[in-house]
């Protein structure tokens, strides 16, 4: 029974990196379009 808290601590330590890696999957997309030959947009 004495070993259980240690096991829990060990498990927590082992799982911490996994939790850190399980960040939500996010990606940013940037779009342009309809530029129409514009190289010097002036507003």
């Amino acid at each position: 029974m004495k070993t259980r808290p240690r096991l829990l601590v060990l498990l927590a330590l082992l799982l911490t990196p996994l939790v850190a890696l399980a960040a939500p999957k996010q990606v940013v997309l940037l779009f342009t379009g309809d530029n129409g030959g514009e190289i010097a947009p002036c507003g």
Binding site: L29, L30, A40, P41
Partner: protein, 303 residues
Amino acid sequence: MLVLDAGNALFKSPTPGDPKERARAELLLEQMNALGTEAMAVGARDLTLGTDFLVKAGKGAKKLKLLSANLVDAGGKSLFPASTVVTVGGVKFGLVGLSPEGPVATRKGVVGQPPVPAALAESRRLREKEKVEVVVVLAALPYQDALKLSKEAGNAVDFIVQSHESRGPGVPQRNEYATLIPPGERGRQLARLELNLEGKGPFVDLTETERARENLRILDTNLRQAKDRLAALEDESSRKAMEETVASFEARRKALVMQTTPGTQSPGRSHRLSYVSLGPEVADDAEVKKQVERIEPPGSASH
């Protein structure tokens, strides 16, 4: 991060005649490569100098891929790759390009085949064979054709980024499964689409929930005022009209509460569209500015 262009990037007009058009198009292609633009659809205002100019530019490009799933030569052979697959942040994206339907005036025999079937065939192939997670169609098509695609695509397509009429920035529009995205126009904005890819199903628009929350706040004020007025009315016909107004506000409120309550919408993939304005607050790159001014000197009509 993934940078994409919906097409109609290179020329002011689909018909040639401007003496500076080639220099401008070459500079734009060079800068799109330098920016790391992954892919671009071939639109009507990219074909002004015919297909040879563009095919050559596509072959010479370091990164930028010119895509069209429906543009064919006189022999029915594809002129550009229909799609490309790219992995960003561990997510596999399938990118499909579309050109407008009909003959290309600047090159005899070249024709845009019907875009919707071409897009569906390529998107389904990407889902089934390439196992892509997200399909983005770069649609250099009239808005009505892009809208038709969004209604007929089923779950084959996630996003359709439309260019053709320079419609400018706007709000995302989901029809069935696919979401139509306006990319901005004339180099004045960058559209920024944040994707959250946890889960499955159609992407939910997070800005829609925010708009619903704001509408609910306004509606609550109007509802309170309508109830106060109702309490003060004595005339029977006026009371009846006001009761109908209150009832319609309450029905609308119920719908908005549904939209803004967590857990009432399908959990999972979501997106948030915003625009980055490219005005004077964004500093010019000195070297690019020199190149621009060689083509468009300060004070010239186009500058």
